[in-house]
């Protein structure tokens, strides 16, 4: 089967999840990937949604963060203050799975304003939602984002959610307890923070993608890992599961 770049991204993101990980799931790409993982290799994943559901097991993609199916299939439904205070804040969640409008070379996320200044932005985005505290408190953060030189920037216009700040050690200095973004998955490849500098470096490219393509879609002078791997292409099973999930959601 042939596949689209978006399908490769969703499948690569799904593969990053495993076992009984507790995943705080943002809506959109993260939710697609997390549900795909649960439907394929990681049936025991615990999906937590900020609308107040612990252990949701939807059989289709939720249309919104508050889709009724998330509540109906959850182990527990709790209030929104409780999900943030009792479950996210103390570090009970393994992976925060976020999207981004802009992401920078140190994994900082912007979903607030692009261009101009804050009070007179060129583009007004939806804002923070749950992301700042998800990025702060989950043990790790995975970001899934469509890559372009506009979304993958040297420095975000506004730090909505803190990644690695200006480099290694910033999180520790600020007292943030989670490890921050440890994995970024795009439609072109996979990026991880350099262990020395925390700068995002290319570690894997998806099938058919060239390094030039990746560089062209990166707004900074991209470094690569010593050996850049190749993402294994989607299996027939993965693709079928993803398409079935999307079909069930229409």
């Amino acid at each position: 089967m042939t596949h689209t770049a978006d399908e490769m991204m969703a499948i690569a993101a799904a593969r990053a999840l495993s076992g009984r990980q507790r995943v705080f799931v943002g809506i959109g790409l993260p939710s697609t990937a997390a549900n795909l993982a649960r439907r394929t290799h990681a049936p025991d994943l615990v999906l937590v949604y900020e609308s107040g559901t612990l252990g949701s097991k939807p059989d289709r993609l939720p249309a919104s963060i508050g889709d009724g199916i998330l509540a109906e299939t959850a182990d527990a439904v709790i209030s929104v203050p409780e999900v943030f205070n009792y479950w996210l804040q103390p570090g009970r969640i393994d992976v925060g799975f976020l999207g981004a409008a802009q992401l920078d070379r140190f994994g900082n996320i912007n979903t607030t304003v692009i261009g101009g200044d804050y009070h007179h932005p060129k583009v007004r985005l939806p804002g923070a939602g749950g992301a700042p505290e998800i990025a702060a408190s989950c043990r790790e953060v995975y970001v899934v984002v469509r890559q372009s030189s506009r979304s993958f920037v040297d420095r975000v216009d506004f730090v909505t959610s803190f990644g690695h700040g200006t480099g290694k050690g910033d999180r520790e200095r600020l007292g943030l307890r989670g490890a921050g973004p440890t994995l970024v998955i795009t439609d072109l490849g996979v990026f991880r923070p350099d262990p020395e500098t925390a700068e995002l470096v290319l570690t894997d490219m998806h099938e058919g993608v060239t390094l030039d393509q990746v560089r062209a879609a990166t707004g900074w002078d991209l470094r690569t890992a010593p050996e850049v791997g190749r993402t294994p292409p989607p299996t027939t099973g993965e693709l079928a599961a993803l398409r079935a999930l999307k079909e069930a959601s229409r």
């Binding site: 919104s64 508050g66 998330l70 209030s79 943030f84 205070n85 607030t112 923070a128 939602g129 959610s161």
Partner: protein, 270 residues
């Protein structure tokens, strides 16, 4: 004791120009019909508060009811931007819109503080982000036992909170279930409150996962079946995803929006 009245009476008596008003609902149980009644009654200069302003806030903003928005995520969920909101922020149309921007954790805790009769709440939040540089209501606070620095946000105490729920009994006790969002906190934090309900029943039979707001904690109840449309009321209705998608084109265009506004203003209130 909550008084059971019509929606028009409730909005007329509870919401005044210049009030701080929260219409809460986290995707589920959004009190849209109450928002439309605020538009019909032509309220002005409202400070609108909500974690997730979506279509009904886009409508209130486009109708010129608001001078300020306090929020943590503003968008048309699953669809895209709120164009009336963007037009107000970026072009002051139809009137300028001041914003006070938080995160969900911050807003949720502001309601918790408000419901608890405390002036502020403490959380691990905002650290490292640019939000404290643009939002005055985020400050550091030091633990008096460990010396650790955390973040404080002030209580939210709306003049009026409006929520939608599944049922009330004739005494005005309110029952809601499914995703509960921050509705209990928003009602308890407010000086006055209105709950629109799918139906008024003789008895609130127990429902798993349901909470009850006693009548004496609510100011008014109005029976408004379908009052959460296009959002949903678990056990009563499904989310109208097509409406959310269709709103994009309406909200994007000032003239389309003006047509929509004319229709809403002509509707007979529930």
């Amino acid at each position: 004791m909550a008084e059971i009245v019509t929606l028009a009476e409730a909005i007329g008596e509870l919401v005044a120009d210049g009030d701080v008003v929260a219409l809460e609902g986290f995707t589920h149980l959004i009190p849209t019909a109450a928002g439309h009644e605020i538009i019909r009654q032509g309220r002005r200069d409202l400070t609108l508060v909500r974690m997730t302003p979506d279509i009904v806030y886009d409508q209130l903003i486009g109708a010129g009811c608001a001078r300020k928005l306090v929020f943590s995520w503003g968008g048309n969920p699953g669809v895209g931007s709120l164009h009336r909101f963007r037009d107000a922020v970026q072009h002051s149309w139809p009137v300028p819109l001041e914003i006070e921007e938080h995160s969900h954790a911050g807003m949720a805790n502001r309601y918790v503080a408000g419901a608890s009769g405390l002036p502020f709440a403490v959380l691990r939040g905002y650290v490292g982000t640019d939000l404290p540089s643009v939002t005055a209501t985020i400050k550091p606070i030091t633990c008096p036992f460990t010396g650790e620095q955390l973040t404080a946000v002030p209580a939210l105490n709306p003049d009026v909170t409006v929520i939608h729920a599944q049922r009330a009994d004739r005494a005005g006790n309110v029952q809601l279930w499914g995703l509960l969002g921050v509705q209990k906190e928003a009602v308890l934090a407010a000086r006055r409150s209105l709950v629109t309900v799918e139906e008024v029943v003789d008895e609130l039979t127990p429902v798993p996962g349901a909470i009850v707001l006693p009548s004496w904690a609510v100011t008014k109840v109005a029976e408004v079946p379908g009052g959460a449309h296009p959002s949903y009321a678990q056990g009563y209705s499904e989310r109208d995803n097509a409406y959310y998608a269709a709103w994009d084109a309406i909200g994007r265009d000032r003239e389309e929006f003006a047509n929509w506004l004319r229709q809403v203003r002509e509707e007979v209130p529930a």
